[in-house]
Amino acid sequence: MLGSLCSVSAQSGAVVSTDKDSTQDIQFRFQPQINSEPLKLGRSYYISELEDSVSIEKLKFYIAELTLSNAEMTHVHSSPATFLIDMEDSASLQRSCAIPKGVSYQKLSFSLGLDSAIQCSGAKGGELDPTRGMYWSWQSGYINLKLEGTSNSCPARNHLIQYHIGGFQSPYNTEQSIVFEYDHSPSILITMDLNKLLTEKNITKNFQIMSPNQKAMDFAKNLPDLFRISP
C-alpha cells in the first residue's frame, strides 16, 4: 500500500500528533464534468463546441502526493497519498486527509501522474498494481491518464477516441503539478472540465495518443488547466 495511514511530516521539525481527538478529516471529491454536470460513463453528451455528441467509456488517472501545506512548511498527505481515480469505481473519487486540529493550511497540491522514482523501482501493489490496466507492457511506464470514448466526429475505426497519456523520461515527462489556494474548508470538490479537453484536443484530428511522445506531452500540458476546486 502507498503511504501510511496518514503520514504527517513536519519539515520545520515539529512533529504533529495524529490522535483521533486531535485531528480533523478533510474530504476531497473528484468530479470530472461534461457540460458542467458530473460525467456518467457511456452516456451521450452533445458538445456544442464540437457540434457533435461524445460518449466517454473510460476515464482513469493517477493523482500523486495529494498534499495540504502552509507557509511554515508543515504539510500533510491524503491517505493514501498516491491513488487511482477510476470512473468505474465511484469510491475511488472520494479521498480524505486527517489534519491536526489547530494547524492551518493554505495550499493544496498534487501531481497528475507518477514520478520517475515510482516508475523505475519495480512491481507495485494496491492502486499501482499493473492489473489495474494502467501499465504499458511493451515499454516500462505507467499510463498517467486513460480516456476512451466515441464520437461520430472521430474518424478512427469504430469512432474510438483513445488517449493513453504517459511517459516519465525527458523530453516526454508527462507528470504535471497542480497547485491551488486552500481556504480551510473541510470538504473540497475538485472538478475536471472535459469539454475543454475534448475541444482543445480536436478529436477529429488528434484522436489516438498511446505512447510517450510529443503529442502526449502537448496533451499533458493542457491537463492542469482542466482542474478547479470549490468548497
Binding site: 523505475c120 519495480g122 498494481d129
Partner: protein, 342 residues
C-alpha cells in the same frame, strides 16, 4: 532447493519474537560486483522462488495455454532458444527478435534488446502481453491463477495470502530469475585460483581483452550497456533497436550488449539470430570496414588471423558454465509434473 546458490540466514527481528523470517540472499563469487537488483524491495524466500519457477514453466501464462516462459528460455540452452533465430509464440506466430539467454539478471538494470524495460520485475509483462508471444494480459493471468487451487496454495506459502495479485505474480517470477546465476565456468575457477587457462586459452584471453573486453566487460562479460555493432539492418524486420524506445536519432541501431557467457548453448547469435556459428560473429567483427560505425571500440576491424580466431574461441569456451546449464534445480519443477485437476 537452491542452497548451493543462496545462503540461508535466519533473521530474528526484535519485537517480533514469535516470528522469524527466512530471508535468502544471493551468493556470488568474490570477483563479481554487488548485484544491482534491490532485494529489500523483494526479499527472497524459498516459497516465492518456487512459485516463480512454477510460473516460469507453466503455459497457463499464455492466452491459449500453449506457451510458457521456458518455451523460448530453455534451461538446457542457458535459458535461450537454441536453433531458433526469432522467438515463437501462440498460434505459431514468430516474433522479431532472438530470445536472449537468462542469467545474472540481478546485475542488469535494463531489459530487452532495446532496453524498453527498466526493471526486472516489469520484464515479464512484455512477452506476456505481446500478441506474437503469449498474447495475454496480466489481469486475466492473475484471474486464471486465482481460479487454480495449486496456485492459491503456492501464493499462500509465498506471500501469506492465497490471493494472487499482479505485484506478487511479477515479484515471484523475478525471484526465480534472480537465482539464475552463472558463476561456475572455468573462467570463474581460474579467477578463484582453482584452475589455470591452457596456453591457447591464455593467448585468446589476451586477444579478448584487446578486442572484446571494453563492451563485454569482465566478469559478467557484458557492460549491459548499448552499442552499435555494424550489422546491416534486416529489411524484413526494420529493427532500429533503442531508437524505437527513445526516438532519439543517436540511438538508432543501438542494441543491448549480450553476455559472452554460455555461448555454446545460446546460438544463434545477435539480436535477430542471424548468425548460427560463433565463427560468423567473429568474421563480422574481423572485417568491419573502417568508418562503418564510429563507436571507438569498433572503429577498426579486428584483423585476426585464423590462429587468433581459434585462440579467441578457445578462451570464449572457458565461459561455458555447464554446472549452471545442467543444474537440475533450475529445470521443470516437480510441482508442475503432477498436475491436479485444479
Amino acid at each position: 532447493m537452491k542452497s548451493n546458490l543462496i545462503v540461508l540466514l535466519i533473521c530474528a527481528f526484535i519485537g517480533l519474537s514469535f516470528t522469524s523470517e527466512r530471508v535468502l540472499y544471493l551468493l556470488y563469487p568474490s570477483h563479481f560486483p554487488a548485484p544491482t537488483y534491490n532485494l529489500t524491495d523483494n526479499p527472497l524466500l524459498q516459497e516465492s522462488i518456487d512459485l516463480g519457477q512454477m510460473l516460469f514453466y507453466d503455459p497457463i501464462l499464455s492466452k491459449d495455454y500453449s506457451i510458457s516462459c521456458a518455451s523460448c528460455h530453455s534451461p538446457y540452452n542457458a535459458f535461450a532458444h537454441t536453433d531458433h533465430d526469432l522467438s515463437h509464440g501462440i498460434n505459431d506466430s514468430i516474433g522479431t527478435r532472438n530470445a536472449p539467454a537468462l542469467f545474472n539478471l540481478a546485475w542488469q538494470t535494463s531489459f530487452m534488446w532495446d532496453g524498453a524495460v527498466n526493471h526486472l520485475d516489469m520484464q515479464s509483462l512484455a512477452p506476456l502481453s505481446h500478441p506474437s508471444e503469449m498474447g495475454e494480459n496480466i489481469k486475466d493471468v492473475v484471474e486464471k491463477l486465482s481460479n487454480t487451487m495449486r496456485y492459491r496454495t503456492a501464493f499462500y506459502n509465498a506471500w501469506a495470502d492465497s490471493l494472487p495479485t499482479g505485484e506478487r505474480f511479477l515479484k515471484s517470477i523475478t525471484q526465480f530469475q534472480l537465482t539464475l546465476i552463472s558463476a561456475t565456468a572455468k573462467y570463474d575457477r581460474v579467477m578463484a585460483g582453482n584452475d589455470v587457462l591452457s596456453p591457447q586459452e591464455a593467448m585468446g584471453y589476451v586477444l579478448f581483452k584487446d578486442h572484446c573486453g571494453s563492451c563485454h566487460t569482465e566478469p559478467l562479460f557484458s557492460s549491459y550497456g548499448f552499442s552499435k555493432n555494424g550489422l546491416p539492418v534486416d529489411t524484413t524486420l526494420d529493427d532500429y533497436g533503442r531508437y524505437g524506445v527513445t526516438k532519439n536519432d543517436e540511438d538508432s541501431l543501438l542494441f543491448k550488449i549480450p553476455s559472452l557467457r554460455n555461448l555454446s548453448y545460446t546460438f544463434p547469435y545477435m539480436h535477430d539470430g542471424r548468425y548460427l556459428k560463433l565463427n560468423e560473429v567473429l568474421n563480422h567483427y574481423n572485417i568491419l570496414e573502417a568508418g562503418m560505425i564510429d563507436d571507438s571500440a569498433l572503429s577498426r576491424p579486428m584483423n585476426l588471423s585464423s590462429k587468433d580466431k581459434a585462440d579467441l574461441i578457445s578462451f570464449l569456451m572457458t565461459l561455458n558454465d555447464t554446472a549452471f546449464v545442467f543444474n537440475p534445480q533450475n529445470k521443470f519443477p516437480q510441482s508442475l509434473q503432477v498436475r491436479s485437476k485444479n
